[in-house]
């Protein structure tokens, strides 16, 4: 069975290897001067696990069910679960190796740029070891959805949707709390606090005070809050009553960025003074709390997240075995 499992994944493994080699050759040939190549390589490392789930995972059982070849494979002297175990192991390890290799190449190629950028968590998803966990998870998910839906194309679409949702949910909800966060309490700095809101337009929160991010190189700042001694956050009502003038009278604007290379003009002295006075009044009762994962947490977080996704992949593989036993 080991031979059959390898024989059935040989062609796709060869194609993946050739693709990785072609991309790395192109990246090396173009050198590190072009920042868009770094972006594209990061995007590639992010999408590779999903593609492996769609194109290697989803057809693994669904393809056999569609073509009818399961009637050949499952009537030999080997149980369905052992058959599945071999196929999951061989193709799954190939998928993890493909993701690991592409991630290693991207990590190595972008290493000097990443180190200069001092934002290691900005490229967390596309560097080092986590892509291996994503690939194992996406692959097992694809196999399971293929065994459940019994058709390759719907299973591929479902794999893409579910994998993307799982990754986003983990990224937004689980990863920040995977290890206990560190808090940093700072006084509000009237010279470095702005006013506005950030976010996509329909979802943008109402404007509030925006303290400057503290200088924590390579750390991952997960939240910046303005709270009082009791721990209550600054409300917009409180802000409006303390600083009735804020938000009126205009601020800085964008000028033609091609004209002099700068994209901003400073706010007028009057507006800046109003802002300064406001933050000084607020700072009498409120301070700034920054929660973050320190730079030293990068590798613990990488291995924790890898472990979580590998464990989830094993659970999905067990579900595949349960499902395949019950087909028919």
């Amino acid at each position: 069975m080991s031979w059959l499992a390898w024989r059935q994944s040989r062609a796709q493994t060869t194609i993946a290897l050739a693709a990785v080699l072609a991309v790395s050759a192109a990246a090396f040939a173009s050198g590190r001067a072009d920042a868009t190549i770094r972006l594209w390589l990061s995007v590639l490392a992010v999408v590779v696990p999903g593609l492996l789930g769609m194109f290697w995972g989803a057809p693994l059982v669904a393809g056999e069910l569609e073509s009818g070849s399961f009637r050949l494979a499952w009537t030999q002297d080997i149980s369905r679960v052992r058959w599945l175990g071999w196929r999951l192991a061989v193709t799954g390890l190939a998928a993890m190796a493909a993701a690991g290799l592409s991630s290693w190449l991207v990590t190595w190629w972008a290493g000097p740029l990443d180190r200069a950028g001092l934002d290691q968590f900005g490229s967390f998803d596309s560097r080092d070891i986590v892509p291996v966990g994503y690939a194992a998870f996406a692959f097992a998910l694809g196999v399971l959805l293929g065994a459940l839906l019994r058709r390759t194309v719907p299973a591929m679409a479902a794999t893409l949707v579910v994998f993307t949702a799982a990754r986003l949910a983990f990224r937004l909800l689980a990863r920040p709390a995977l290890l206990p966060r560190v808090s940093l309490v700072l006084p509000l700095n009237p010279s470095a606090t702005g006013y506005g809101s950030s976010g996509f337009l329909p979802l943008a929160p109402s404007p509030s005070l925006q303290p400057a991010a503290p200088d924590l190189p390579n750390a991952w700042v997960t939240s910046i809050a303005i709270v009082n001694a009791k721990g209550d956050a600054l409300t917009s009502g409180e802000l409006a009553s303390t600083c009735p003038d804020i938000g009126h009278g205009g601020g800085g604007g964008i000028v033609n960025p091609l004209a002099n290379g700068s994209s901003h003009v400073p706010a007028s002295p009057g507006v800046a003074n109003t802002m300064h006075d406001c933050v000084t009044r607020i700072a009498a009762a409120y301070h700034e709390v920054v929660t973050y994962q320190p730079a030293s947490r990068y590798w613990p977080l990488q291995s924790e997240e890898l472990g979580v996704f590998l464990a989830a992949a094993l659970l999905l593989a067990a579900a595949c075995a349960w499902r395949v036993r019950r087909i028919g």
Partner: protein
């Protein structure tokens, strides 16, 4: 003598429809058994229950022996070559007969390097039969093996089955299904007639013909199906 297949109150339901209902049946070992019935009678369901591809909704089915199975349409792996299939059979079978497999491949005129997806229907059926026979099965199950073959390939294939049966001696029980009585007439000593998910007739051909005073197998099957339709 042992029975090759024993089914007891066997039933299989797909969603609402019963493909097979309350089927009690014994197939004696060493026979060549023809399973006939119109399309949708439950032939495939019965055979796939026998080889373990389907699980019964009710009742039980046991086969006492190792089975070789050729499924309807003779599915193979399109990307794998003929030689790859033999290697696969060797890896997945406990009693693989490699020399028999290669001899059959050469007799059928198959190119070992040919991808199975490029084989003609008749060649694919021959490959599937080779994979089943080289397992040295004690029970050979063929599901409509000749259904989609042209007349020449069909005759060649049925001759291959006859030769395989003859070569295996008394040790192998063969069950093959067809909706054409003519396919079975020359080879089968035992007949099972399925219609509407139920067994209408089962027994040695000679006994059945004598008992029902029928002139031919064809007449017997047709009269039984008429009765079942009423």
């Amino acid at each position: 003598m042992d029975n090759a297949i024993e089914a007891n109150a066997l039933g299989k339901r797909y969603r609402r429809r019963w493909a097979l209902a309350d089927c009690t049946l014994t197939v004696p070992a060493g026979q060549v058994v023809g399973l006939v019935g119109p399309n949708g009678a439950g032939k495939t369901t019965l055979l796939e229950l026998a080889v373990g591809l389907l699980r019964p909704t009710t009742g039980t089915i046991t086969i006492r022996q190792r089975a070789g199975f050729v499924a309807q349409g003779a599915p193979v792996y399109a990307d794998l070559s003929v030689a790859d299939h033999l290697r696969m059979g060797q890896g997945l079978s406990a009693h693989w007969d490699a020399s028999l497999a290669w001899r059959r491949v050469h007799e059928a005129g198959l190119d070992p390097r040919q991808r199975a997806g490029r084989l003609s229907g008749g060649q694919r059926a021959q490959l599937a039969l080779t994979l089943a026979v080289a397992r040295r099965p004690e029970l050979l199950v063929l599901d409509e093996p000749a259904a989609n073959l042209d007349p020449l390939a069909r005759r060649d294939f049925l001759d291959s089955v006859t030769r395989a049966v003859a070569a295996s001696g008394e040790n192998m029980t063969t069950v093959f299904s067809s909706h054409l009585v003519a396919d079975l007439e020359r080879t089968c000593g035992y007949l099972i007639l399925l219609a509407g998910g139920q067994v209408r007739l089962a027994g040695p051909v000679d006994t059945l013909l004598a008992h029902h005073r029928a002139r031919s197998l064809d007449d017997l099957v047709v009269s039984c199906l008429r009765e079942a339709a009423r």
